[in-house]
């Protein structure tokens, strides 16, 4: 973390960048928030630890319109989102100075809370320099411990790799934290009967309060005008239980980002209701991989997306019924 701060100060001083896009200390020990830093003094609040899961690439859309360059801190998986945004001409590569920061898996406070650890005062073992595999958590009810891997975000268990796909310089070591099969959950659902599938998704989607957090955080959801905000549409009333979008919001959103979603997992991370939204996006990724060849959105900034491309011998839609 100190390395990033001193490098940021250097870049601000010599005028390479006008601002730094990073994370600042939040109200609680486990909620750092995305922030701009414009002076060396601001950087006193800079933080980079295991809870800095937020993907900053979307903030670069606005930062691309500002005067001067922006230093942006990207973790390996965030760099895929950034690449995808370049492909869609949403960010200006020349306006960004990308510092690839090391990552050894990010933590999910919800998992810690679910393990029954409440009233957290401080957590040690979250610093990126730490080699510790255990979190030492001080709570008002006494000291607790939890293994780092158990507290990791779902997306870190299916890590895309420790390499940044785009950067100007790298600071810190990364670790591939993959220890689960990416499509295992999807396959489990696919194996269910239609009734079970329906009940499963009904139970999950019933939790949705239409707070739009998943849409607002998604780097692929970067339309200036969103279909869900149109007042000519039923979606104008967010709390309207009977309206079409209340039921279909998540399917439509997943379809809008199909072929562009890098599987960064931000939607599931921010959902206040804990809906596993990545299950929708990952299903599309799985289908695209199976039907149109392996494709990782954001792996490069040039190739055509699978839904803006075709081949003459693509599978017919009846393949869905045929494969059962």
């Amino acid at each position: 973390m100190q390395e990033i701060i001193s490098r940021a100060k250097e870049l601000l001083e010599n005028g390479t960048v006008a601002r730094v896009l990073g994370w600042k200390i939040g109200d609680l020990p486990y909620n750092p928030e995305p922030a701009y830093f414009e002076t060396a003094k601001d950087l006193e609040n800079f933080v980079y630890n295991g809870f800095c899961g937020a993907n900053l690439s979307k903030y670069m859309i606005e930062a691309s319109k500002l005067e001067g360059k922006t230093m942006i801190c990207l973790k390996p998986c965030d760099s895929y989102s950034f690449n995808q945004l370049i492909k869609e001409h949403r960010v200006d590569r020349d306006k960004a100075y990308i510092v690839g920061v090391g990552c050894k898996g990010k933590l999910d406070i919800e998992k810690i809370k679910k393990a029954g650890i409440k009233g957290i005062e401080s957590i040690s073992g979250i610093e990126m320099t730490d080699a510790a595999d255990t979190l030492e958590i001080k709570t008002i009810y006494g000291d607790k411990t939890m293994s780092y891997a158990d507290a990791m975000l779902e997306r870190c268990h299916v890590c895309k790799g420790k390499d940044h796909v785009i950067y100007d310089e790298l600071i810190g070591e990364s670790k591939d934290t993959k220890d689960a099969e990416r499509f295992a959950e999807i396959e489990k659902i696919e194996a269910m009967s239609p009734e079970e599938k329906f009940e499963f998704f009904k139970a999950e989607l019933s939790k949705c309060i239409r707070c739009n957090a998943c849409r607002n955080v998604c780097p692929a959801c970067s339309c200036r005008k969103c279909v869900f905000d149109s007042n000519k549409f039923d979606s104008a009333q967010k709390a309207n239980v009977d309206s079409f979008e209340e039921k279909m919001f998540h399917i439509i959103r997943a379809f809008h980002v199909a072929g562009r979603c890098t599987d960064c997992g931000e939607c599931s991370r921010v959902c206040p209701q804990g809906i596993p939204l990545h299950l929708f996006n990952r299903k599309f990724i799985k289908d695209i991989n199976e039907l149109y060849g392996e494709y990782q959105a954001g792996a490069d900034a040039e190739s055509k997306g699978p839904l803006t491309d075709f081949t003459f011998d693509d599978a017919e839609p009846s393949v869905v019924a045929e494969r059962g």
């Binding site: 659902i189 696919e190 269910m192 239609p194 009734e195 079970e196 599938k197 329906f198 009940e199 499963f200 998704f201 009904k202 989607l205 019933s206 949705c208 279909v227 239980v241 079409f244 209340e246 039921k247 279909m248 399917i251 439509i252 997943a254 379809f255 199909a258 929708f280 299903k283 599309f284 289908d287 695209i288 039907l291 149109y292 699978p306 839904l307 803006t308 075709f310 081949t311 003459f312 693509d314 599978a315 017919e316 839609p317 009846s318 393949v319 869905v320 019924a321």
Partner: protein
Amino acid sequence: MSVENQFKPKIVAFCCNWCSYAGADLAGSSRLTYPADVKIIRVPCSCRVNPMFILRAFEKGADGVIICGCHPGDCHYSTGNYYARRRMTLLFSMLDYIGIENGRTRVEWVSAAEGVKFSQTMNEFVDKIRSLGENVRLGDLRCKK
């Protein structure tokens, strides 16, 4: 089952202006029959069909949705149906994934000369939807028990 009690499905057919709509016309002028349960909506091209149209049709009470377009390679706009093919494949797969019976959606390529195929397809599709019964699942996904 008496005629009054028989389930009358509501079926929406999106037909491309250049092939399938003309195919439906040919079916009519050839005096071929297909059930009146099928409501045709003419679209400029099969790729005009936004996946949302299909979801919305179900939402508004359709029991089945069929998309008809030119045969691949014959699109009036050269490539529209190739894009539609990918989109619809992914959408149908997603509907299957969330537990919607996959017989409720179908894509069929019908040319302007295939009046017979049009009428056969529609008869088959209506029979299929009749056997599946009323569409209840897409209407109440968010309703709490």
